[in-house]
Amino acid sequence: MIGAEGQRTGPGTIGVVAIAAAVLVFLAAPVAIIVIVSFSGADYLTFPPPRLSLRWYERFFGTPEWRQSIVVSVQVASLTMVFATVLGLAASLALVRGRFRGKGAIYAMLLSPMIVPTIITAIGLYFFFVKLKATGSILAMAVGHTVLALPVVVIIITATLQGFDLRLELAALSLGASRLVALRRVTLPLIAPGVVSAALFAFLTSFDELLIPLFLAGVEVQTLTVRVWNSLLLEVDPTIAAVSSFLIAVTCAVLGASALLRRRTDV
């Protein structure tokens, strides 16, 4: 039966809607609960919280170790963003524009970190950096995260480049621009939305990733995710909820920014 809006209605539809609603609830509920608990006034994790307060946020932002972890996480994520975006852009240009043998193999290789379990990558990187005596450094963690972020960056930027009209670049060349000038003044401004959103995803990939820094972090230099993990092993207090809410807020902000960006360039 066809409804007024051309949509089928009936028992089947109701079933689908019910399942979809259940899935959404299961996806969103943990987030909602964590956020609510983070404002709890109780001394331990309870739901629903007996009263509301900001004490766990005070604890989170007031503790030097937690504050330092925020700085470390942001540094690692920022470096990852820069590395992955620059490398990913160069690789994407070569993959989309270039005509050379083994292109498919190189593409597959760049995407392989998505297939290999992260723990395997983490262990491999650990042995590598131990040899270099470079564990515990921000750079090492950023390099590790760059490996993880590259596939996303390459996928987003190659997709953007595929939609780019190559004739614009040819036109720039015919008008006397060198290849570099054509890239800088014509291609990059036009694919900027794709590049920026790839950069944001690279940032997020690093910001909420645990395994790589778990292997590569030092005693002094710990990302937020590692410190959450370590403190979970010792005791569970609602500070964790505040930290988690903070991570969720950052993720939402970055995703929101990238959505806004896409909307602006669509008009």
Binding site: D165, L170, A171, L173, S174, L175, G176, S178, R185, L190
Partner: protein
Amino acid sequence: MAAPEGVRAGAEVRLQGLTKLFGPVVAVSDVSMTVPAGSFFTLLGPSGSGKTTTLMMVAGFVHPSRGAIAIDGIDVAALPPQKRDLGMVFQSYAVFPHLTVSENIAFPLEVRKVSAAEIRRRVGEALELVRLTGYERRLPRQLSGGEQQRVALARALVFRPRVLLMDEPLGALDKKLRAHMQLELKRIQRHLHVTVIYVTHDQEEALTMSDRVAVMRGGQTEQVGTPAELYESPVSPFVADFVGESNFLDGVVISTSPDGRAVVRAEGGLELRGTSREPLHVGQRVVAAVRPEKIVPQDARASELNRGKGVVDQIVYAGDATRYSVALGATGTLTVKVQNRLASRQLATGDLVELAWDPGDTRLFARASDER
């Protein structure tokens, strides 16, 4: 951009044995031609005949497999596109969507490090030339197709290239606007004395705009000449068919005379006379081509004319002219085009008519095989 100041009249472009292979595909094969300085030269041909490939080799975006390109006598093989100083207008316009009209036009001057004051002056002149003054701050998406095309044209001319390359630049415009832009292009080309190499598959456009036309087919040039030469004396049935329109009658030569004329018996028995560029011999299989507007129903009385009796089969009224399909029995069908002048008689389907046309308008082509 006023031409008189520093007249850099267009350059001569010479192609010599130009060939391009894409793997096994022969896109362009042994093309040689000279584009005279300051002329409007058109590459005309059906889809896939190698027009774009030829143009791209001149522009430097495609490397020739063989052959040479010389601009004013200087071989440009070693020069990349950005060093050739050729203006180029693409079918898709390729206007930079993120730059305003004046930024688009300023682009080639900026990359040449022209001073800001000079850029402002020349962008203003270029806008005036293409009649877009007042559009400076608009973005391409705020322009119509025709306006975008004029921006692309201004941008390709503002750095005073000596040769302007255009690949079907009017393909996406409606008929009216197209006719208008054709006139504009001609006006600008005459004003600047720039050499234009123009690609189109629209024979009408080629005939009205060009000083010379090269008809391309299967990667080769079939005929190079002025529009009148192509129309009045095509060298092959292909040109007779592609440039303008022709009726074709298959037949056999039954007698020849030394002035190139020959009498042919068409397949249905109709005898007709025509002219040929190459000597024909009796018994040879030929194709006779005659244009629809050269055939006149009935009135002509001179004995020199080819004649055939037939029945009006189909009528297509096109305003200024009417086209009749006249069935000549076993010989086939001829298309006849009659201008609708004052008091011109309209025929009706089923009317019996006598058709007459001049042997001088009947071109005979030897049939190599079953080729047309």
